[in-house]
Amino acid sequence: MSMMEAHGVSVIRNGRAIVDDVTMTMRDGQFVGLIGPNGAGKSTLMSVLAGLLTPERGAVMFDGAPVTSFDRRELARVRAFLPQNPRAEWPISVERLVALGLTPQLPAFGGLAEEMQARVAAAIEMVDLSDRRDQPATTLSGGELARAMLARALVGDPDTLMADEPLAGLDPRHALDSVGRLRRLADAGKLVIASIHELTLAARYTTHIAVMREGRLVAFGPTAQTLTSALLQDVFEVAACVTDAGTPLAVVDFVPSRPQA
C-alpha cells in the first residue's frame, strides 16, 4: 500500500511562490504524469513530494504519516527518486552504479550479498544494458545513462517511484519501453509519479494527469477525462488537439496558435 498526499504545499523563493498551495492525493496503482510548461514548478513539487525539500507551507503525507517523520533510510527503502538529468560523477561500471540503488538496504560496511547481486543483474537486464554492465557509466550515451539510472531506482523494489523527466533524451524505442515499464509498475500495484514532456506518451500510458502552471495545480484526475484539448491550449498557450486520451492509441498534436501566413 502506498498513498501520497500533499496538503496546501507552497514553496517560496525570493518572495515568489514556486509551488503554490498544491493539494492532491495519489495512491498505489496510479501512474501520475506531471505535465506543465517549463518553470511551472514540476521539479520543485517532485522534490517536496520526495521529502528532499521542506515546503514553507503545507505538508506531505506518505502512507498517512508526515514525510518528515520518516527515518531517511526507511523512506529511501519505500520510495525511489530520480532527479532530472542524473549524472555519474566517477567512471564506475554500470553494474556498480545500479548497485548503489541498494544503499538503503545495506549495512554500514561490507559488500553485496549474492541475492543482491542477482537483483542488480536482473535490473540491468530489464533496461536492456546487460552487454554494458562493465562499461564505465560516464562513457554511456545520454539515453543509456537514463536507462541505467532507471535500473538504479528500481533495483531496490520501492513501493513508490518518482522520476523527474525519465524519458528525456531517450530514442523512440527506449522511450516507449521505459514509459511502458512505468505503467506496468503501476499496474502491479506501485505508485509512479513522473514529470513528462512527451504528451502523446503521457496520454497513452498514464492513468492520471496532474497539470501545473505557474506553481499551481490546475488540473488533476484520470487521464481520459483530464487531458483535453482545451486544457492544453490553456496551459501551454498553443492550439492542441487530443484524440483518445487514456487509450493506447492516443495522440497529442500541437499547432501554433496563430498560424503564420
Binding site: P83, R87, I92, S93, L97, L100, G101
Partner: protein, 328 residues
C-alpha cells in the same frame, strides 16, 4: 583482471620493503636482524637504542601520517567529487601549520615540547570548523570557503614570519613549515595517535555516503544519505587526523592528492574502494620519501615536505594532461 588481484600483494611487498629500509637507513646503517634480536631480548646497545628510540617511532609516524594523508585525500575527493580535493584545500593543514607556528612564535614550544602539536591540532580543528560553518551551502561553497580559510591561515603564518622576534625564530618556523619526520620521538607518536585513530574512524564512516554521492547530491539524499552528517564526518575526521599529523610533522604536501589518484583506476573508481588502498599507498609513498631524504647525499638533510612537493609537482602536470584528454 589479473592486475587487480596482484595489487594487494604488490602493496604488501612495498610496505614491508619501505618499513625495513626506513628502519635500516640513516647515518648509521642497521641490519634488520638487530630488530628481531632486540624484540626477543632488549639489549641496551647502541644499535638497539637507535632502532627503538629513533627509527621505530619515525617509521610508525611515517606510516601513520602517510596513511592519514592518503585516506583523507580519498575521502575528501569522494565527498567533493573534485579531483583536486586534499586536506590543504579545505584549510585543515594550513590551520594546523598556523597553530604550530603560534606555539613556536610565542616560545611555548620551548617551555613545553608538546605545545607545538597541541596547538597544531587546535588550529586544524578551528580551520575545519570555520570551513564547515562558512561553506554550509553545498560542494562549491565548501571548496570556496576552504580556499578562503586556507588563505587566512597562511596569512597568519606569514604575519608570524614577518614579526618574528629574531632570525632564529624565523628560521625555526620556516624549518618546521618544510615538514620532516626527523628527530621525532615516542612522545609525539603517542600524542598524535589517538587523534589520528579517531579521525580515521570518522573518515571510514563515510564510505556508503561517498559511494552514493557518485550519483550526485539529490540522488544520494534520496537514498537516505544525510549530507550534512557526511560533510561533518569527513571534515572532522580530516581535522583530527591530518591536524594531528601536520602538527607533529609539519606540512607535507601532495601525498593526499596523489595517493587516491594513483590507486583509483585499479579499484574501478568507486569512492569507497579507494579509501583503504589510498591509505596504504599514502603510507608507502611517505615512508619511501622519508627514506630518500636520509639517503640523498646533501650537506643538510632534504626536508620531507620539500621532497614530496618536488616529486609531486610533475604528477600535477600529469593530472592536468589527463583531465584535458578526458574533457571534450
Amino acid at each position: 583482471m589479473v592486475g587487480r588481484r596482484l595489487w594487494p600483494i604488490l602493496a604488501a611487498v612495498l610496505l614491508v620493503v619501505c618499513v625495513l629500509l626506513s628502519l635500516g637507513t640513516g647515518r648509521v646503517w642497521l641490519n634488520p636482524a638487530v630488530l628481531v634480536d632486540g624484540v626477543f631480548a632488549p639489549k641496551p646497545n647502541l644499535a638497539w637504542l637507535i632502532l627503538a628510540e629513533l627509527r621505530v617511532p619515525r617509521t610508525i609516524l611515517g606510516l601513520m601520517v602517510g596513511a592519514t594523508l592518503g585516506l583523507s585525500g580519498a575521502a575528501l575527493q569522494g565527498l567533493l567529487r573534485n579531483p583536486l580535493a586534499e586536506p590543504g584545500l579545505l584549510g585543515v593543514s594550513p590551520g594546523a601549520a598556523l597553530g604550530a607556528v603560534i606555539a613556536i612564535y610565542f616560545g611555548l614550544s620551548g617551555m613545553l615540547t608538546l605545545a607545538t602539536p597541541i596547538l597544531g591540532i587546535v588550529g586544524a580543528m578551528a580551520a575545519a570548523w570555520l570551513t564547515l560553518m562558512i561553506g554550509r551551502g553545498g560542494t562549491l561553497t565548501m571548496i570556496l570557503a576552504g580556499s578562503a580559510v586556507s588563505g587566512l591561515m597562511l596569512a597568519g603564518v606569514s604575519l608570524a614570519l614577518n614579526f618574528a622576534p629574531n632570525p632564529y625564530a624565523a628560521y625555526e618556523i620556516t624549518t618546521w613549515l618544510l615538514g620532516s619526520l626527523a628527530d621525532r620521538d615516542w612522545g609525539q607518536v603517542t600524542l598524535a595517535a589517538p587523534f589520528i585513530l579517531v579521525g580515521w574512524l570518522c573518515l571510514i564512516l563515510t564510505v556508503r555516503d561517498i559511494d552514493a554521492l557518485t550519483l550526485g547530491e539529490a540522488q544520494a539524499e534520496s537514498l537516505g544519505v544525510n549530507i550534512a552528517r557526511t560533510r561533518f564526518l569527513a571534515l572532522a575526521g580530516t581535522a583530527l587526523s591530518v591536524g594531528a599529523a601536520t602538527a607533529v610533522t609539519g606540512a607535507i604536501g601532495f601525498i593526499g592528492l596523489l595517493a587516491p589518484h594513483l590507486v583509483r583506476p585499479f579499484v574501478g573508481h568507486q569512492p569507497s574502494r579507494v579509501l583503504l588502498p589510498a591509505a596504504v599507498f599514502g603510507a608507502i609513498l611517505l615512508v619511501f620519501a622519508d627514506v630518500a631524504t636520509r639517503v640523498i647525499p646533501t650537506s643538510q638533510e632534504v626536508k620531507l615536505g620539500v621532497l614530496t612537493s618536488l616529486v609531486g609537482t610533475p604528477f600535477f602536470f600529469w593530472l592536468v594532461a589527463k583531465l584535458r584528454r578526458m574533457s571534450p
